[in-house]
């Protein structure tokens, strides 16, 4: 058995290279669609994810590559671009059948299946034909996959027990084996229905000219005609394992592709409506001149209203279809990349392999915020934050003497060389000086806790003292109860932990820009081990600009604090930077916690121990770490979590920017 975990990382890159877009690779068990159940032993492709069996009974790892490529092939070779109208236009047999009326909210595949008395059968036959077509095209486009495909298929055939075929189900099984490359002559000896030979001819024709998806549709129609008598011959419907393919992933993917078309139609209609509105606006004066009575509509107005109605109907349909697809295929994370990380289970004293799934995505920039005010924050703190940095030698140049190449002669070296020459010794030819760049080979990562608790106010107002002697509570609805001066006004917006964290990041960014150090700013949150979220505000190789400001402004309180995988991911980034000195600074407001971070929800030791282990791993990989917390009770768990007192508890949260700069200076000097 081969495990998906062993190939997942490079398989994701392989899929990205082949298809030109990123797909999450997940085991089928992680499929979260509600209207659809995936077969755990089969592969499936959704909008952003390639689902594969968690374990695969195969002779070698390349079997996973075969399965992945087959799924990607459906997209590359247009399986999901199927349109019923085109099929009916191209295939006379289909056009001769009445058009089923199932409404707009079924896939074109399902409409196609509904042409037939037994939709399950045509669905199965179509999938067989389409699999052959896609495999054929894959072998042509990627000839190297052929040998892996053959080996894997041969292995599957070895596992199968070939049996006589005397009914439709067993005939379909023979076709499956045929598609896996079984010996056709041998299969024909097993066929008692006398249908395999003509079926093989239909499939051979398809293999000869695989063309587009409609070739498979036509082949499926021919195969159906071939199998139809077998359906008539038996009593009742056979226990066909067919219906599972109706409205399967392919149908939803076709609906997704169709949704793209609808969106384009909607944009076009919006544009038409705008154009017509502008035109009619210009003719408004003319309308007045026509002397229409109130409520009377001109013919143009009537036409515009009809277009608007159509547009609104389409917009509703697009919305409903989008939510139906999301419901069926699960939430998409198109802009994210996913990673799996081990987790340390201190109770069992072992790692849980690939236990957490972390999604890395860009923070959504918040351009609505007053970016000028954020810049003012930087100016306000600049002096105090940069003071510690003055002790750090900045990026610059220094003159190096006695070198073989340089922009100036080094006169001391020249004189020495002349002396040596006169004395009959070999002179040193290193007689130049040059300016050399002084590098600070540092990369820092700031990891900001974006848990929901960062939404808490810094200094919450004291609870109200209810006392019988209190003054009578004013009736605010009574306009005469209060003087104008006494009417309560909105209080200034409360300052939250997240506000100070954001400001600290802004101030540090500005200071590090001056210093010339490379740094990244990240946030993390999530909910559950399958959904650790890692947000990128700035990568080390990106400039600090307006977009960075907006991204930091977009740091908002989210959900839980599963710190271990976030640290492991930040360390991975730091190591990839290749810098000599790598520093990880973690800003948090409390202990690590998540819904399933430990055997019991309220128990924090598991999270503390996993985080401690992640910090230890970082240290072993050469990354300097430091935790800064605004949780005044943090000493208790930070002492156990951070080695060598690599932590700081901030008593006055407003001191965070200065504290950070001091820590940074100490770590990198």
């Amino acid at each position: 058995m081969i495990s998906l975990g062993d190939v997942e990382d490079h398989l994701a890159l392989f899929a990205e290279g082949i298809s030109g877009r990123y797909y999450h690779i997940k085991p089928v068990a992680e499929f979260a669609g509600r209207r659809l159940a995936l077969n755990p032993e089969q592969a499936a492709l959704t909008v952003d994810t390639l689902y594969l069996p968690e374990q695969l009974d195969a002779p070698e790892q390349s079997a996973y590559r075969v399965l992945a490529l087959q799924q990607l092939g459906h997209r590359e070779f247009g399986s999901f671009r199927f349109e019923l109208a085109s099929a009916r236009a191209r295939i006379p047999m289909l056009a001769a059948m009445p058009l089923p009326e199932l409404g707009m909210r079924v896939s074109d595949f399902d409409l196609f299946y509904a042409h037939f008395e037994h939709p399950g059968l045509i669905s199965r036959l179509f999938h067989q034909a389409e699999r052959l077509r896609v495999d054929t095209l894959l072998r042509r486009a990627y000839p190297g996959i052929t040998r892996h495909m053959r080996r894997y298929h041969a292995y599957l055939l070895e596992q199968a027990s070939l049996e006589l075929a005397d009914d439709l189900n067993s005939l379909l099984q023979l076709v499956d084996w045929l598609l896996l490359g079984a010996d056709a002559a041998l299969l024909e000896t097993l066929d008692l229905t006398a249908r395999l030979a003509p079926a093989q001819q239909i499939l051979a024709d398809l293999e000869q000219s695989p063309g587009d998806v409609y070739q498979s549709v036509e082949a499926a129609c021919l195969l159906y005609a071939l199998c139809d008598p077998l359906l008539d011959a038996r009593q009742g419907l056979p226990p066909l394992p067919l219906d599972e393919e109706l409205s399967g992933p392919a149908s939803w993917m076709q609906r997704e592709a169709r949704l793209d078309d609808w969106r384009q139609d909607l944009e076009a209609m919006n544009s038409i409506v705008l154009d017509v509105e502008m035109l009619l606006g210009e003719e408004a004066a003319a309308a007045d001149a026509e002397g229409l009575s109130d409520g009377e509509l001109r013919p143009d107005d009537v036409h515009l209203n009809a277009i608007r109605r159509d547009r609104d109907t389409l917009a509703r349909r697009v919305d409903m279809e989008r939510s139906a697809i999301a419901d069926a295929l699960g939430r998409t994370r198109n802009g994210a990349r996913s990673f799996r990380y081990d987790e340390w289970d201190y109770l069992q004293q072992r790692y849980l392999p690939r236990w957490c799934r972390l999604y890395e995505e860009r923070l959504t920039p918040d351009y609505e915020q007053d970016l000028g005010a954020l810049q003012a924050v930087i100016r306000r703190h600049r002096a105090e934050v940069q003071k510690p940095f003055e002790q750090i030698k900045p990026l610059g140049y220094q003159r190096v003497f006695g070198v073989a190449d340089g922009d100036e002669l080094d006169f001391n070296a020249v004189i020495q060389a002349r002396q040596d020459s006169r004395a009959g010794q070999t002179p040193d030819d290193r007689v130049y000086s040059r300016r050399e760049r002084v590098h600070r080979d540092v990369c820092a990562a700031f990891l900001v806790d974006l848990s929901a608790s960062t939404d808490d106010a810094i200094d919450p107002p004291p609870p109200a003292q209810w006392d019988a002697d209190d003054e009578e509570i004013a009736n605010l609805r009574d306009p005469f109860a209060l003087d104008a001066d006494e009417i309560p006004v909105d209080e200034a917006p409360r300052r939250r932990i997240i506000d100070v964290q954001r400001e600290s990041m802004l101030v540090m960014s500005a200071a590090l820009e001056q210093l010339g150090d490379s740094y990244g700013i990240y946030g993390f949150s999530g909910y559950g081990r399958d959904c650790v979220e890692f947000f990128v505000a700035k990568e080390p190789d990106e400039p600090f600009n307006r977009d960075t400001l907006a991204a930091i402004a977009g740091m908002t309180p989210k959900r839980s604090t599963r710190m271990g995988p976030a640290i492991r991911h930040a360390v991975r980034k730091l190591i990839a930077s290749g810098n000599a000195l790598k520093v990880l600074l973690i800003l948090s407001d409390g202990f690590p916690q998540d819904s399933d971070y430990g055997p019991e929800r309220g128990e924090h030791e598991y999270g503390v121990q996993d985080t401690a282990r992640a910090l230890k791993e970082a240290h072993e990989k050469g990354v300097e770490t430091f935790c800064v917390t605004v949780d005044r009770s943090g000493h208790d768990y930070l002492r156990r979590m951070c080695a060598d007192a690599r932590y700081l508890v901030i008593d006055e949260i407003e001191d965070l920017p200065q504290a950070l700069s001091k820590v940074y200076q100490a770590l990198t000097s």
């Binding site: 990382d9 490079h10 398989l11 994701a12 890159l13 392989f14 990205e16 290279g17 082949i18 298809s19 030109g20 390349s62 590559r65 490529l69 990627y142 000839p143 190297g144 996959i145 190449d405 340089g406 922009d407 100036e408 002669l409 020249v414 060389a417 002349r418 007689v431 130049y432 040059r434 300016r435 050399e436 760049r437 010339g516 190789d541 990106e542 400039p543 990839a576």
Partner: protein
Amino acid sequence: MTEAVTFDYLASEPYYLAVGDEVEVFEAAYAARLPVLLKGPTGCGKTRFIEHMAWRLYRSDRGSARCRLEVPLVTLSCHEDLTATDLVGRFLLQGDETVWSDGPLTRAVRTGALCYLDEVVEARKDTTVLIHSLTDHRRLLPIEKTGELLPAHEDFLLVMSYNPGYQSVLKDLKPSTRQRFVSLTFDYPDPEREGAIIRHETGVEPAMAERLAVIGEKVRNLREHGFEEGVSTRLLVYTGDLICRGIEARRAAEIAIINAVSDDATVQQAISDIVDTVLP
């Protein structure tokens, strides 16, 4: 000197397959003596293009005065230790005296050659002083150490290359420098053209050349994974060269592509899988 300088004599026409109108545009820019900036990723053909253009301008017309110039193209591969002195020249010790020696840029300015500064943003900032005076209406090279103000030969043209994807922001070209040049943007050719280039450069079978071009296209989809540049046409040509010399195709790709573009084991495995899947 620490810079890598190449003096091209250009005895034969360097092969270059035009992707668009870059040849005509460059000829027009040269006719107007407009400095040219070539933008594009590593190994996409910028250097080959400038060699080809130097041949067209200096060697294709045997009767022209330019054709008599011994070195029509001076190429400098810039790096972060490259200073203005390296470009302009320096005093050398000869016996008991110091003797001025022209640098490669000064030679090109005096003789009227094309001077090509490859990856110019890698050079130190003091080189931009020279670039500015040579690329505006003055066309002058100030030689600070000799006090000479050298007017450029009428055939001289400065060409620079610049790689926006690869350079760090700290090394970005200043607008005041960038706006002195007309810019030609290059990218990797489409698979069909790239296959033709590989075939021409290596003599590999057409089908294999096409497969190598497809590998290039697919591996470039992974640019973000630690190798921003993707696989260059140059590396694909190297692969073809190795195949033509009897190295098995997958082994040739391993040497010339997989090991060359990344040191990350996961990325290498993914590229290896792509190569294995695309090759017959």
